[in-house]
Symmetry: C2
């Protein structure tokens, strides 16, 4: 997606060997106009799928999912990382290992909001080693629902998540795929 | 706001003395159509203000802020509760006491995304004792920016947050104000 790649080149910055900072437009400050372009792009790529729900994970996925849901006319469900006393006791639960935090945490969705027969689009901002995406797929499977697609804004093509999902036959759409950073430079894989 | 109140009456549920569960449409599953109506309503109420930024706090505020931002044509910044290695070191920081979690946590915004001269609309899903809203106001003040308004979807009128903000002269807009629950029934204050 050309506009996204241009924004990444203009406003993203590389930190160390494997971090791309995009906090000026994607995960701290949000460029709502760009999010709309992203939502339209996901719809265009998945227009033949009968998606009836979008699933994401707090917090960075929520804005992408909410804006994109306008193009699909479906509700969003965001999986929760923290146990809240306002969350139902009856939940689907999976474990996700966070490489940035070095620990495993539980991710939950109330059983009320994922059901057998649902055709689910999973959305997230980044795909790196695939832990969060695999966790969300696990939640959908536990509910007996179907993963119609996985939409990712930025895939780190030099980490294994994308390959892992494609090898499993997941209908993966990454709008920008990063190649390995060399000398701190951002390049994309076509 | 009539539609919001109807949705709360039809889909909300009271738990104990002071919890209103709205997870079917506002903070776990998201009714995007309702969020658009909410965004339009905030714009209508604040159309005379020259707002150039919306500030919220992760996670439940993000969807409301992202959808509402479309009507103001401004970026969103969401304050972070968790220290992330992707967050800048230069941040404005405030402390917020969580009554549901019984502890104080730090809330941060990168100094890059709140500046002197910004006219900020603060948005959140709930206003109860006012801790989160006061924290966000503190961040705006620390940046030398101006709070043009605080927009709340559901105010618990039987807790002190609303009064606290109004007493300070904050331009507060709560779209639904809950009266004390009696026998588990939901009623609104006009």
């Amino acid at each position: 997606m050309k506009r996204l790649k241009e924004t990444i080149l203009n406003k993203g910055s590389v930190v160390g060997e494997d971090i791309l900072k995009v906090d000026s437009f994607l995960n701290h400050q949000l460029d709502i106009d760009l999010l709309n372009a992203i939502g339209k792009e996901f719809k265009e790529r998945l227009k033949d799928k009968k998606i009836n729900k979008i699933l994401t994970i707090e917090a960075s996925g929520i804005a992408i999912a909410a804006i994109t849901a306008q193009y699909f006319n479906v509700p969003v469900v965001f999986a929760k990382k923290v146990q809240s006393k306002n969350l139902d006791k009856e939940t689907y639960k999976t474990e996700v290992f966070s490489f940035t935090k070095g620990r495993t945490y539980d991710v939950r969705v109330s059983k009320k909001y994922l059901s057998k027969g649902d055709k689910v689009l999973i959305l997230d901002d980044f795909l790196a080693k695939g832990a969060a995406a695999m966790g969300l797929i696990d939640l959908v499977n536990k509910a007996g629902a179907e993963v119609s697609g996985v939409g990712i804004v930025i895939e780190k093509g030099f980490q294994e998540g994308g390959q892992l999902l494609r090898d499993q036959g997941v209908n993966l759409h990454s709008l920008a795929i990063l190649d390995k950073f060399i000398d701190g430079k951002i390049r994309f894989i076509d």
